[in-house]
Symmetry: none
Subunit: 76 residues, 2 copies
Amino acid sequence: MSPIRVINPDGTFTTGPETTERLLTPGEVAQIFGVGPKTVNRWALTGRIPSVRTPSGQRRYRETDVITLLSGDRSS
Amino acid sequence: MSPIRVINPDGTFTTGPETTERLLTPGEVAQIFGVGPKTVNRWALTGRIPSVRTPSGQRRYRETDVITLLSGDRSS
DNA sequence: TAACAATGGGGTAATTGGGGGC
DNA sequence: TATGTCCCAATTACCCCATTGT
């Protein structure tokens, strides 16, 4: 993973020359996949999805990781 | 299929310039069509309806795809 | 009658959701 | 208000087989 270069006023941050990252809450990821927030936490516990921890212990998920899972080639 | 561009706070996400998507569970789709969940599963396996997989393997269906099928644009 | 497609039921294992409490 | 965690019932995926209709 690329190192963080610049943090923007809107909360996004660059990890490379042209890449901008965004962190999603468990609730946001849950709605994206059509499941509950607890299920997303379960995914993190079982290693199905990478996660970042806030200093208080809550989980955040990279938008790029979510998009990768959504694009996962399991069409059927 | 268009690549995902942006994920919104309400769980929708754009797959193109102006498109927003939502996902339905097998049970919901089954209730909509008046069939059993297993039949919806079979539709996905036979390619009659597109589906997205959760990281754990369960299927979710795009509301727009269901609406399209309900609209009755079938070949026969 | 045979062949075929579509649907549902049974069984099993894995996943999920809801309640409760923190 | 949202989240992290635990427990339990409901849902789902996947297999095979019976039924129905063409």
